[in-house]
């Protein structure tokens, strides 16, 4: 991906990418770390802008680290309720039809095929 391509992407998609990187990490991340993690040619200033915007919206919390800040997602107080609802949703087989899920369940054969493909350097 080139710089130009990433800078042209809609703001929402960039926010989503930054947010995903923070959620995937166990520790708070600095703008530099987010930029390195995404490795997608985003300018540091762009990452910093997105992070401070998300912080102002109350989506992220931050702590001092060195001369700047490290950010992490705010754990929502309703987290447990939402998690339970999510569990209910996941058990309902009808949701299969209501929502297009990324991956369907695998048969043991499927699992072997996929493992072999990945081992062969897919």
């Amino acid at each position: 991906m080139t710089d130009a391509k990433d800078e042209r992407r809609p703001a929402g998609e960039l926010e989503a990418a930054v947010m995903a990187a923070l959620w995937a990490s166990d520790t708070p991340l600095t703008p530099a770390q987010v930029q390195a993690e995404l490795s997608s040619g985003l300018a540091r200033t762009t990452v910093t802008t997105i992070l401070s915007r998300l912080y102002e919206k109350g989506t992220l919390e931050r702590e001092r680290q060195g001369r700047g800040y490290a950010y992490r997602p705010i754990q929502d107080p309703h987290g447990l309720t939402a998690l339970r609802m999510h569990g209910e949703l996941a058990r309902d087989s009808d949701r299969e039809s209501a929502l297009a899920r990324f991956v369907a369940q695998l048969t043991p054969d499927d699992e072997q095929v996929l493992r072999r493909l990945l081992e062969e350097g897919l």
């Binding site: 991906m1 998609e13 995903a20 995937a24 569990g87 009808d94 039809s97 899920r101 369907a104 996929l114």
Partner: protein, 310 residues
């Protein structure tokens, strides 16, 4: 004659599972999505029209309803002894189908509502809604605005570039309006049991369409294939305590999607998509015979009402 005509729309959908399975390999996913969905709807309409005509015919053989229908002569039907059980069966199937469809619609609407209220409650960034759950899962949540819901388990199972492929896939579901295709396939599957196989084909081909869109968006087919494979394995590992869902001998949908992405993109089939033409022909014949049968019965009813002469 009319009875035979009306049996055709009930039998034609039985050919659809075979055709639907073949169409997956032959067409671009978006074209296949349209062909399958429209054909399924037409086949479903033919089935309902045929069943409805049988039910009405039988009903008008009952004196009370014949009086209500202002029949002055008895309605002419092929076999007096056969028509009542057939009509009762048709009416029963229609009632059952309607009931099952209603139940499924209510449950799916409830599922969507739960998902939406959950998404509203979560902190979102852009269109992404993260659910803090170790179970890897991701889905598109259409609405205003469109959202994509991803669990932390899924985010951690994938590398950053693979996450971008996943997001592009879910966004393609939303912008492609795939939920309408899925709903139409669901509707058709409730009209004729043979159309359930077509519903599965529609689901798979909608995933394929989103996969292709994702591959174009991230500019890398291998990367998209890898994201799907790794996400599926992560989800599989997380719910290995659940019983396997089908011990099917055939390859499941995920390896088929991966294989399709690994094959070269430039696969524009110059051969005439016979299978698609065949499926569309089945659908059109089904509707045409159902309409002819229904019109013929309508004519008989008018004769019985003394409004038309034979």
């Amino acid at each position: 004659m009319t009875t035979t005509l009306l049996l055709i729309p009930l039998l034609l959908p039985c050919a659809s599972p075979f055709l639907a399975r073949r169409i997956l390999d032959h067409r671009s996913p978006v074209a296949a999505l349209w062909t399958l969905t429209v054909s399924a709807l037409l086949l479903a309409a033919g089935t309902v029209a045929a069943l409805g005509t049988f039910a009405v015919t039988g009903l008008l053989k009952i004196p009370a309803f014949a009086a209500l229908g202002e029949l002055v002569h008895p309605l002419r039907t092929p076999s007096e002894r056969l028509i009542l059980p057939v009509a009762a069966l048709a009416a029963g199937l229609l009632t059952l189908g309607t009931f099952a469809l209603g139940r499924s619609a209510v449950r799916q609407a409830a599922g969507l509502r739960t998902a939406r209220s959950q998404a509203e409650r979560r902190s979102t960034a852009g269109d992404l809604c993260v659910v803090d759950s170790p179970h890897p899962d991701a889905y598109a949540l259409p609405g205003r605005p469109h959202r994509i819901v991803v669990t932390t388990g899924m985010l951690r199972a994938l590398r950053p570039d693979e996450r971008e492929a996943l997001f592009a896939h879910e966004r393609a579901h939303n912008t492609g309006g795939h939920r309408y295709f899925l709903a139409a396939a669901e509707l058709a599957a409730h009209c004729h049991p043979a159309l359930r196989a077509v519903r599965e084909a529609v689901r798979l081909v909608a995933e394929r369409a989103a996969d292709e869109a994702a591959a174009t968006a991230v500019g890398d087919r291998r990367l998209t294939a890898r994201a799907i494979a790794r996400a599926a394995l992560a989800a599989h590992a997380a719910d290995s305590d659940r019983p396997a869902f089908t011990p099917a001998a055939t390859t499941g949908p995920v390896p088929r999607r991966v294989a399709a992405l690994l094959s070269p993109a430039a696969r524009t089939p110059r051969i005439l998509p016979w299978i698609a033409v065949l499926l569309a022909a089945c659908a059109v014949i089904s509707c045409a015979t159902a309409a002819t049968g229904a019109l013929s019965v309508h004519q008989d009813i008018e004769v019985a009402q003394g409004e038309a002469s034979r």
